[in-house]
Symmetry: C2
């Protein structure tokens, strides 16, 4: 199973980021509006390989908290380093949206954008 990124995250500041899509995918934004909520799926490309093998980790990296299974957490340490983050659309530029609330690092490959689930 191979993922071909649809674009890349470009940080503007700690709060805002651009999602820069490949030209062939820009049409996929049709109907998106400022204020919409999206789930952004991205690849945590900076995660070291050894952190993909840990099956139990300290919640929020806090060694005073007992280790818990990675599937019972949202820790970035997991076998397949795919992040899913809910964001709000602040602006829509010709090459993709500007969003608020994305925790991805600059340069993270973007896998998908999905309309947020209702409710």
């Amino acid at each position: 199973m191979t993922i071909d990124p649809i674009g890349v995250v470009r940080r503007i500041d700690q709060d805002k980021a651009r999602i820069v899509l490949k030209p062939i995918h820009v049409e996929g934004l049709s109907g998106l509006a400022v204020g919409d909520r999206l789930d952004v799926l991205y690849w945590m490309h900076e995660l070291p390989a050894e952190q993909r093998r840990a099956m139990r980790v300290h919640p929020q990296g806090d060694p005073s908290r007992p280790r818990k299974g990675v599937f019972a957490l949202r820790s970035p340490m997991r076998p397949n380093p795919v992040g899913v983050t809910a964001v709000q659309v602040l602006d829509i530029r010709p090459d993709g949206p500007v969003v608020q609330g994305l925790d991805a690092h600059d340069g993270s490959p973007v896998i998908d954008l999905k309309a947020a689930r209702p409710g």
Copy 2:
């Protein structure tokens, strides 16, 4: 970017499914409890390749509704066929959880399980 599935979806009925993990990943369930909510990430393995190229589709496949960009929808038709579905844990078996609310087909490769976002 290559995904190595952590397990597979096995349908029980229309409402319930088992997530059968590979033995090396079972430890990642540590701390998970019946009643917990999870986001299940899975690969929509039955999606034909040509449906990964459409950038605008009819919402819910209804031809009477005007086409909209795939990134403004949750349609299964998208460049990277990764589904993200919120489920509830009904039971925890030695090889993985039984969950309610998963829309994945039988045999879908499972990419990740994440604790649901708070709220």
